[in-house]
Subunit: 207 residues, 2 copies
Amino acid sequence: MPKKKTYHHGDLKNALIKAGVEILAKDGMGGLSLRKVASRAGVSHAAPYAHFADKQALIAAISTEGFRQLYTRISSVAEEYKNKPSMQLIEVAWAYVQFALDDRDRFKVMFSGVLEKEKEYPEFVEESQRNFQLVKMIVEANQASGMLRSGPSDLVALSAWGIIHGFIMLLLEGQISHTVLERASLRELVEFQLKQIMIGLDKESTN
Amino acid sequence: MPKKKTYHHGDLKNALIKAGVEILAKDGMGGLSLRKVASRAGVSHAAPYAHFADKQALIAAISTEGFRQLYTRISSVAEEYKNKPSMQLIEVAWAYVQFALDDRDRFKVMFSGVLEKEKEYPEFVEESQRNFQLVKMIVEANQASGMLRSGPSDLVALSAWGIIHGFIMLLLEGQISHTVLERASLRELVEFQLKQIMIGLDKESTN
DNA sequence: ACCTGAACACCGTTCAAGT
DNA sequence: ACCTGAACACCGTTCAAGT
C-alpha cells in the first residue's frame, strides 16, 4: 500500500490559516489561541511553529489572505459596473461593507491593529497596498466619468475609502446610534455617506 | 497616631484605571494584563476583583474614562471657535486626531472592538452617546453658518465623524501610503478630507 | 522536513482565609 | 469592606527526541 499520509497533512500551513479563520468567526479575537488552531487542524500544539514563527505570524497570514479575497471581490464588482458610472462607486463601497459584515472579526484583525509590527510582514504590506491602488484606479475612473471631483486621485481615494471605512468601524463598534439605524437601511446609509463626496448630489437623499 | 493606611489605597479602583492607561501607553494592548495592572498599583493579583468583575470590566472603565476626556477636549475646542465658523469644524476634527495620536492604544481600545459585549456597560454606552450628541450639535451649528450642507443632522454628523474616524484608523494601521504622507502634513490631510464634505470648496487644496 | 510530549513562564479567575 | 496566597485551567514558546 502507498504511504497513506506523511504525518497528517499535505499542507498544514494553509490548514492552520483556515482553522484560524473559522475560530475567529466562531469565538472572535479573544478566542483565537494557537493551541486551539493546532487542535482544530488535528496536530499537536507545537506543530504550528514549524510553519509560523509565532502567533503574530499566523495572524499576519490570516490578514494577508483576507486582503487577497477583498481584492478579488472589489475588483470583480468594479469590473461588473464598469459601464455604469453612476452605480460603480456605490456598488464597490457596498461590497466593502459586506466583506466587513461577512466576517467581522477577520475584518477587525485586518484593520484594528491586532497585528503589531506589520512592517515585518512584506506580503501583508504588499497585499494591502495592492488594494489601495485598486481604489485609486476606481476613483480615477469616477473622476473621468464626472462622478467625483477632480484633484489628486490618491487623496480623493483616501477620502472615499476613509468615509466608508469610518462608517464600518463605527458600525462594528456599535457606535452608530439606535435612532439613526432605525430610520435607514445600511445600504441607504452607505449611499448617503458616499454621496457627500460625489458631485451634483446636494439634495438630501434620506429622511 | 492615625490609622495611616487602610490597606494600600483610598481609591484602588481609580489607581487601577490609571495603571491600566499607563501600561497601555507603554506596552500596547498585547502587554495589558490584569496581573501587571495590579502589580503597578501595588496590590496582589487578586485585588482588582474587588472592584472589577473581570478584565473586560477594567477595559470598559478605561474606555469610559477615555470618552470623558474626549468630550472635554472636543467641547472646549468647539467653544473656543464658536465665533469662527470657517475654522470650527477643522479645529474640532484636528483635536480628535490629536486625541487619537496622543494615546494610540487607548484610542484603539475605545474604538477597535477590544471591548466585547459593550452593551453590558451602561456608563460606556452613555459616554459614547454623549460624544455623538456633541458632534451632532457642532454639525448643526455648521449647517446654520453655511459651512455644511443641510440634511438630517445625525446623518451629516455620521459623515463628518466617519470621514475623520476612517482617516485615523487607516493612519494608525499604517494603511496610508508612503507617497501620500510625504506630500502633505497630517493637518493638511485632515483639512482635505473634511473639505470634501464642506460647502463651496470644490477647488483642490493640496497638491 | 515535519511533528510530538514535556517543560517553563505567564495569564485570568476563584476561593478560603486574614484584618 | 478590602486585600492576600494558594490553586486551577489555559496559553505562548522552546527544546530534545522521534520518524
